[in-house]
């Protein structure tokens, strides 16, 4: 029997990459757990509260979106709506074109990866430079990010030092401080040359129109401070109702994403440079990206839109730890990606319908999710959808015959007795591919079908005999 694609990818992963992914994920996960339980008496209550707030937002997006637009416009920003990836890229490009801008510095945003913005702009003669260290390395190496928060989780420092040497950033030196220093030197003057800065937004607050951008490198701040035009690319689900909700969400985000009490740089952006302010971008654009999200909203998987992209579910996931992010063939890997990536494809869902299968349904992802998304339930719903759409799935035996046997007690008991033949068959002759696949890795215990029922009958008989015996 053929193994699933993600399993094949995991088997092909180099031991070095596997070690980098496993150790990195485990370290962040364990520190996250320690921090949350050291700092809060009942972190689960916070997760549930944050989950309820985001659920409320997702279920009321139709009223929040116009409200946010009105606030942003009142604050002096210009708002653009993009229903597709193409439209979002075009919106950014036309903002740049109108200013004659050809150099863009980018902070890390997952939605720009999702819509393929950098490539789109590069093809049209705009330099779109990643300024987040991890994303910078990915861009330099023509690679793909393998994690939502740690894009180079799959690389070790030796590979990065070699990459820098190949690209003229200095002789081989794999000391992390030196790697950072070199990227910093290269990037510093790029900020000053840039015509515009692009960021994402971790949150957009409905009551104030405040954009919040969280980084640990200060690069988003440079993108804002050194350029005259700020473009924020934002998924439509990024809204929070009130400024005060940020207290909860920033605390949960920093701990869940990077195991920090607070991220190092938290930008609160209330609009372009106001008269009297010494500096800041004179123009601010917010591009809201749908790209399949309203379709997701219409499904029973809408809870996935609560996601705040912290990556905690990746770090804890045993499948992600074994397979790495690239195995998911998507911008969003891991448990959240296994739900979101196929959903965002809309009608092309079958292309990634195998992703929801890549889970033992262990539930660790739900247990760590800062917005309490029931990820295993959503994976199950998508498995049901894949089955309903007739997408073939290696490793899942057809269940029709099984359900027939399991609804007829006589047939079930006959199967229990008949299974004994397994005890006498060599593995290669076992007529069920799933059992052969089991035996490839594990011993199958002896078949003892019906033994318990016989034991129980004997016990009952003996008990009855005991009772009827004269005292």
């Amino acid at each position: 029997m053929r193994a699933q694609r993600i399993d094949q990818a995991a088997a092909a992963l180099s031991p070095k990459t596997k070690a980098a992914v496993y150790e990195g994920s485990k370290a962040v996960h364990e520190k996250r757990t320690r921090l949350l339980f050291d700092h809060y008496g009942d972190p689960d209550r916070l997760r549930r509260l944050a989950g309820e707030i985001k659920r409320h937002v997702v279920e009321n997006l139709d009223t929040y979106l116009p409200a946010v637009e009105a606030r942003l416009v009142a604050n002096g920003a210009r708002v653009h709506w993009a229903s597709t990836a193409e439209a979002a890229c075009e919106a950014v490009h036309s903002i740049l074109r109108a200013r004659g801008a050809t150099k863009l510095v980018k902070a890390k945003t997952m939605v720009s990866e999702e819509i393929g913005l950098a490539e789109y702009l590069e093809r049209r003669g705009v330099e779109a430079l990643e300024t987040d260290l991890g994303e910078f390395i990915v861009q330099l190496d023509h690679d793909q990010p393998s994690h939502i928060i740690a894009p180079i989780r799959h690389k070790n420092r030796r590979q990065i030092a070699e990459l820098f040497e190949r690209n003229g950033l200095g002789a081989y030196d794999d000391e992390p401080g030196m790697i950072t220093q070199r990227a910093r030197q290269y990037l510093r003057h790029k900020y000053l040359e840039a015509d515009a800065g692009l960021t994402g937004a971790n949150f957009v607050v409905a009551e104030s129109g405040r954009l919040v951008v969280v980084t640990n490198e200060g690069n988003a701040r440079f993108c804002l401070a050194a350029t005259r035009c700020h473009i924020a690319l934002v998924g439509i689900e990024k809204i929070l109702p009130r400024d005060r909700d940020l207290a909860l969400f920033l605390n949960l985000l920093a701990r869940s994403a990077t195991a920090q009490q607070l991220s190092v740089y938290n930008e609160f952006v209330l609009g372009p440079r106001a008269p009297g302010q010494p500096d800041g971008p004179e123009e601010m654009h917010v591009v809201f990206v749908d790209n399949g999200r309203t379709e997701v909203l219409a499904t029973e998987c809408r809870d996935i839109l609560r996601c705040i992209r912290c990556g905690a579910c990746l770090n804890v996931c045993p499948v992600y730890r074994q397979a790495g992010g690239h195995a998911y063939r998507s911008v969003y890997p891991g448990p959240v990606g296994a739900v979101l990536s196929p959903l965002l494809l809309g009608k092309r869902f079958p292309e990634k319908a195998d992703l929801p299968k890549a889970s033992s349904l262990c539930g660790a992802c739900n247990e760590v999710c800062p917005v309490n998304i029931p990820i295993p339930d959503l994976l199950l719903r998508l498995r049901a959808r894949a089955h309903a759409e007739g997408v073939p799935s290696p490793g899942t035996p057809p269940m029709g015959v099984w359900s027939l046997v399991a609804t007829q007690p006589a047939a079930w008991r006959a199967a229990l007795a008949g299974g004994r033949i397994l005890n006498h068959l060599p593995t290669r002759l076992i007529p069920f591919p799933a059992l052969r696949a089991w035996e490839a890795k594990r011993e199958l215990p002896p078949w003892r079908g019906g033994e318990f029922r016989r034991w129980l009958k004997m016990r009952r008989k003996e008990a009855a005999r005991g009772q009827s015996r004269p005292q």
Partner: protein, 253 residues
């Protein structure tokens, strides 16, 4: 909590759901469950028509097939007595999974009603019957694998409480206890490489703690782990906690 609003325990009558794995492979686990329940004074009924909880098709995405089996299970376990299952996984299927696949079905009420009176064995003993300690003796260092389907339920703590109370039992902790063993039903055959790698990690952690026996509330995890260990030529001793409770009563280790 995954299983809220459960029907309180009234009498001493229970219905035993043995699980398909015990029916086919692990008869001694089901037998131990009967002896443990009878020791507690329960009158154990075993509905003969029982087959499977429906989980394989539910996890596989064939919800129509799964619902047929769940409906059969609901018919088989009629009445109002608690249904006790020596498996966190099958119990969770009945009080959580089934409700998900029946959310648009007219008989959702009946499904949920069975879910409310379904108990994982350890949870039933401790939180259903209010028994917090176990008599007898079992001289062993025990590593307790907390199976994933008991996440968010009271089961693992209940089992740890019972095991820890047995004279002679020493519970040993092992690394990354929150991680899955890699079984995952059909996951184990669709993703054989990842499944086995997860199992090997679990076995490494368990072996490092040097227990005499690996114990769990789910035979599926144990079947996967001991099957891997046996195939690698370094067998481990694995027991369901019901077997430990039963053996403690009989004073055999």
């Amino acid at each position: 909590m995954l299983n809220p609003g459960r029907t309180p325990i009234a009498g001493k009558r229970v219905q035993l759901m043995a699980t398909c794995l015990c029916d086919a492979f692990h008869d001694d686990v089901a037998a131990a469950t009967v002896e443990v329940l009878e020791h507690l004074g329960c009158e154990v009924e075993f509905p003969e028509g029982q087959t499977c909880c429906g989980q394989p098709a539910f996890n596989g995405g064939d919800w129509a097939a799964s619902r047929r089996v769940v409906r059969h299970t609901v018919r088989t376990f009629s009445g109002g007595d608690p249904v006790v299952v020596p498996s966190g996984s099958c119990a969770a299927m009945l009080f959580h999974g089934a409700a998900l696949e029946f959310e648009r079905e007219p008989d959702l009420d009946e499904i949920e009603s069975l879910g409310r009176r379904t108990w994982e064995l350890g949870d039933f003993i401790v939180n259903g019957l209010g028994v917090g300690s176990w008599p007898g003796r079992f001289d062993s260092a025990v590593a307790l694998h907390r199976s994933c389907h008991t996440r968010g339920t009271a089961s693992s703590e209940a089992v740890a409480l019972l095991l820890g109370s047995i004279a002679g039992v020493r519970l040993v902790e092992f690394g990354e206890g929150e991680q899955c063993c890699g079984f995952g039903g059909t996951f184990s055959v669709g993703f054989p490489h990842i499944s086995a790698a997860m199992g090997d990690l679990k076995l490494d952690h368990v072996r490092a703690a040097k227990p005499d026996v690996l114990v769990s509330g789910d035979t599926s995890c144990l079947m996967h782990l001991s099957g891997l260990a046996a195939r690698e030529g370094i067998p481990i001793r694995a027991m369901h906690f019901a077997q430990v409770l039963r053996d403690a009563l009989k004073g055999r280790t």
